[in-house]
């Protein structure tokens, strides 16, 4: 079977700012030789600390940036390195949500317009009434009231904004949703709401998810399989259960040792039934 998304030997590097007018530009390697396959309906977690290249990888996967090497296949067709015009037909099928709910919505646009924006490109034949209807239905799905459509982003809390961002990402009924640190900017009591919402919507929409996080607990909660990245490289890749039961790479073990335990999960009483070694 053709996987929904496949990365083959992806490489990416960023130019560093020039030191002087005539100096050569140096590059920093952000992603080195990353390969994986994601089947339809599955959830892949990408974990790593800051600078591990996971956010860069996310942007490569949804063709926001062109890789310097390797390729990304969506349903078997190459989408990397293509001009924007040729990617556009696929855009509605692969969407993304971002970490900072304050930066991901245009402050000068009513949220209804923001949510409808992908629809205007994907299904330009829709009439205004139909479009508003779709936006209203989507707002309800993410747990907001349709009447909020005409408000501006600053009138919402962080958690609500993340719901709005999710609504915008799902309005074109994508097959793939890439979530870059979807809850790390949110308050603890709101994180759980968004995690559950993502999980429910994934089942309802038959989504495949890529969840990027520095938080192992979040990744374990949502994902079927996990990629661990360090310095732009994949150091371990496994089914979630297997990874948490028997981490292979030294770096994975270090991350797990450093992972703060849930406060009531002292050795022997871990309610997850997992066997994390206490840090």
């Amino acid at each position: 079977m053709i996987p929904l998304l496949e990365a083959r030997h992806l490489h990416h590097a960023y130019p560093l700012p020039r030191q002087g007018l005539f100096e050569r530009r140096r590059r920093i390697e952000a992603v080195r030789d990353v390969s994986f396959r994601l089947e339809e309906g599955r959830t892949l977690g990408i974990v790593g600390e800051s600078g591990s290249g996971k956010s860069t990888l996310a942007r490569l996967l949804v063709a926001l940036e062109k890789p310097r090497g390797g390729e990304v296949l969506f349903r078997g067709e190459r989408i990397s390195g293509l001009p924007e015009k040729r990617i556009r037909p696929v855009r509605p099928l692969m969407q993304m949500i971002f970490q900072d709910p304050f930066g991901s919505l245009d402050p000068r646009m009513r949220i209804g317009e923001s949510i409808a924006e992908p629809l205007g490109v994907a299904e330009p034949w829709l009439e205004a009434g139909e479009r508003a209807g779709r936006v209203a239905a989507m707002l309800e799905k993410v747990g907001l009231q349709p009447a909020m459509m005409s408000r501006y982003p600053h009138q919402f809390s962080g958690g609500q904004r993340q719901r709005i961002a999710i609504a915008r990402a799902l309005i074109t009924r994508p097959a793939l949703l890439v979530a870059d640190e979807p809850v790390s900017a949110l308050d603890v009591s709101v994180q759980a709401q968004i995690l559950n919402l993502l999980f429910d919507l994934k089942l309802e929409f038959g989504l495949s998810l890529v969840v990027i996080s520095h938080d192992l607990a979040v990744v374990r909660y949502l994902c079927d399989e996990v990629i661990v990245m360090e310095g732009g490289r994949v150091v371990e890749q496994a089914e979630t259960g297997r990874l948490f039961a028997a981490p292979q790479a030294a770096y994975t073990r270090a991350l797990m040792a450093a992972m703060p335990l849930p406060p009531d999960a002292r050795p022997g009483t871990d309610p997850a039934g997992g066997d994390i070694s206490p840090g």
Partner: protein, 274 residues
């Protein structure tokens, strides 16, 4: 009540602007005297019932000159800022979009080249080439506004480009021009308006300098700037000669700054519906 009216800066700015605009419009149909009419017998008169604001060294009625001058000041301000704004913002956004590439470097270095010359000196060069006159002066001043707006627009655009909502717009499938028009332009407008109000003041003063040198507004067409410069000689004996156009310039500049301030806030959705 209109919410805009409740904004104090906007209100005061609008009133002052109305004053200047009113003066300019009035001068089209009526002035107390012909502003060009010289009466040697009535030189350097202080304000009186006949001449509300007095007369200048040629016996011209200052009130009439100020009224007609308002027309020229607004023309200079609007057109010069307009030229700078349109070309500057377009070039600045273009440079930001292709940041670090050849087009960015080419545009910004070319603008640096303009910026490196003293504005008034180059305006003089342009005017000696194309001939003196109000229209050419306005264009020359406008050209000097381009790099100012372009730099600001480039910086502001780069800041907006780094935001995730731009990425989201690209994921929505919006083309580059659509992203520019729908997301970037509205988000840099406030800054550009504020810059515009400052540049308006610069334009009026620059026109004054050029007129002083005899290559701006041509006599007998009155200009606030030339009136101010002419008044220098008589500062000791007839201070009202300097005071009146000075005040007029100050009011027009203040009107624009306050309006700019007010507009910036009013265009920001965060400032309303709180």
């Amino acid at each position: 009540m209109n919410p805009a009216w409740r904004h104090p800066s906007f209100r005061v700015g609008a009133i002052l602007m109305g004053l200047v605009l009113g003066a300019a419009l009035l001068s089209l149909v009526w002035t107390p005297y012909d502003p060009a009419e010289m009466r040697i017998m009535a030189r350097l008169r202080p304000p009186s019932a006949q001449n509300w604001l007095g007369t200048d060294q040629f016996g011209r009625d200052i009130a009439s000159m100020v009224l007609v001058g308002a027309r020229n000041a607004l023309l200079v301000g609007f057109v010069a800022v307009g030229i700078g704004l349109v070309f500057g913002v377009a070039l600045g956004m273009l440079a930001a979009l292709y940041r670090g590439r050849l087009i960015d470097e080419a545009v910004m270095r070319a603008l640096d080249f303009i910026f490196a010359f003293p504005a008034v000196l180059t305006a003089i060069l342009i005017l000696t080439w194309f001939g003196p006159g109000l229209v050419n002066a306005v264009v020359a001043i406008g050209i000097f506004n381009i790099p100012v707006f372009a730099r600001q627009a480039r910086g502001a655009t780069l800041q907006v480009l780094a935001q995730d909502y731009i990425r989201a717009a690209r994921l929505a499938g919006l083309s580059r021009p659509a992203v520019m028009l729908r997301h970037i332009l509205p988000n840099i407008t406030g800054l550009m308006i504020v810059q515009g109000s400052t540049q308006f003041a610069f334009a009026i003063l620059a026109e004054a300098s050029l007129s002083y040198l005899g290559i701006g507004t041509q006599p007998p067409n009155p200009s606030w700037g030339r009136m101010l410069n002419d008044a220098q000689t008589y500062l000791g004996t007839a201070p009202h000669l300097a005071l009146v156009p000075g005040l007029a310039i100050a009011i027009a500049v203040l009107a624009f700054n306050l309006l700019g301030d007010g507009l910036r806030d009013l265009l920001d959705p965060r400032m309303k519906e709180r």
